[in-house]
Subunit: 180 residues, 2 copies
């Protein structure tokens, strides 16, 4: 079945966080197809949770949507950095939190075609609060809410960012299974 | 707070399913920042479900990953087409199914920054099976499995496509709340 072959690939645009590539693919009947795809740097997405089931999300102005979005703490993994190191760095920079227990609870592909974007979801526990050092231009408010409240916002559509939804669904499931 | 302003915007690359844009944004302190973002056509993602809690997913070869992926039936919304019409068309074309009951159960943003990609998740019920008419190059196998089996594959990571995960989480929740 899997007789598709990538015949050639070239980069047609490089941006800071993504690259556009063009791939020529040979189908099983030897017909050729040209695809253009976007490859984004991997992201880490962090869900800090307290022992009383409160979690931390952030509210942040997103130019792409022209408004503030309620979402998980997140950022790109830098070159020569492990995903865990990236998660620790983003949690500290964006909201000033240090966590002493870490677990990657999911590794997801945001799309199955066209756009290649891997997101690593981390659960962060045993927290120590400190001072944030946000990047220039970041305007981040830390929001503490219960897992049940977060779940309601997912169901109502108030939280509609894919990775944030998945993280909350996974925490909710871990909680129901007494694994949290 | 929300004093960010988009000062200018231009298109720098157009592909069949996405466009790369460059935006100049003025920060609250009047500093300027340049962003490059990708805007993808909206997608519809369809979860057909039978009265015995079996759902249909598909297995499809994805050149981007070099392997077959287990995922929801999905496609892009065409110009001059409503999302519901697009969902009906994709369900019929990809797997030959006609559904007589439709509900949009979630509308999600796959990313909060860099890539703008809206996904509409539809629940499709009251199904009639027929003949598929896949696009050239599509190699799609219809997979019937129980909602519980699908949920296990989400938790194990075998299903790791974001929208497919979210749809299954939502169906699982509807089921537990006796709304399905």
């Amino acid at each position: 079945m899997d007789k598709w072959k990538i015949v050639s690939e070239k980069s047609i645009l490089k941006s800071r966080f993504f690259e556009v590539k063009e791939q020529e693919v040979a189908l099983p009947d030897n017909k050729k197809r040209v695809y253009q795809t976007v490859e984004r740097l991997p992201t880490v997405n962090i869900f800090p949770i307290l022992s009383n089931d409160k979690i931390y999300l952030i509210s942040q102005y997103r130019p792409m949507f022209g408004k503030r979005i309620l979402e998980a703490i997140a950022g790109h993994v830098e070159e020569n950095e492990t995903t865990l190191a990236g998660a620790k760095r983003e949690l500290k920079e964006e909201v000033g939190i240090t966590a002493f227990q870490w677990e990657e609870i999911a590794r997801i592909q945001k799309s199955a075609s066209i756009i290649k974007e891997t997101a690593h979801i981390f659960l962060a526990q045993d927290l120590e609060l400190g001072e944030a050092q946000p990047d220039e231009g970041e305007d981040i408010a830390l929001i503490k809410l219960s897992l049940a409240e977060a779940m309601e916002k997912v169901v109502s559509g108030e939280i509609n960012d894919a990775v944030t939804m998945i993280g909350i669904f996974m925490l909710d499931r871990l909680k129901r299974e007494k694994k949290l």
